[in-house]
Amino acid sequence: MATKSTAAERASASAKASARQAQAEPGRLALVCILSWLIPGAGHLLQGRRDKGLAFLIVLPLMFGIGLWLQGRLFPLEMSDPLVFLGAIADRGIGLPYLIAYFADAGAGTVTAASYEYGNTFLMTAGLLNFLVILDAFDIGKGRK
């Protein structure tokens, strides 16, 4: 009886390992990471983590939108000012919402607005959190989670 159970467990573990291996193909991993950057949560949705993917898909663009509403600024990639440069990298972490805002000429920022710094914080945090979401999607793709 115990032998049967062990054999079944082994077969199940072997099936899981081969499924992970199939998932961990470099091309697929790259696709997961790029999609996850472009559309927050898409990497999770692609890998069957529906609840997590939907949560990220709603919350991160919402956070970015709130940042724009609070008159935050989307920083330019200026190497001469390291803090602005880092802020610009963080802003770009959100992917498609950033591109839409960029082409819609949003995110000019109003320095005199009371909510300006909050807006910047929301914008940058949304991008940085999406970097963590990308790493999580990568780990799932690698079979570590």
Binding site: V59, L70, A114, F122, T125
Partner: protein, 61 residues
């Protein structure tokens, strides 16, 4: 476009809520664990912010 409210406390609460939500979903897999972690993180954000703001109160701008 609705007018931006001027309440810094509201911005802080909103920020804490959204960040806690993302971290809870990211770190935990079970719904119950997510709720617990998110609530603890949100409470931690608010209590810490209030404590720091009271500590800074005597300092001039």
């Amino acid at each position: 476009m609705p007018q931006v409210p001027a309440s810094h406390f509201l911005f802080m609460v909103l920020y804490a809520l959204l960040v806690s939500l993302v971290f809870a979903v990211l770190l935990k897999d079970e719904r119950r664990d997510q709720l617990k972690t998110g609530a603890m993180m949100f409470g931690g954000f608010i209590v810490t912010a209030l404590a720091i703001s009271w500590l800074m109160y005597p300092f001039p701008l």
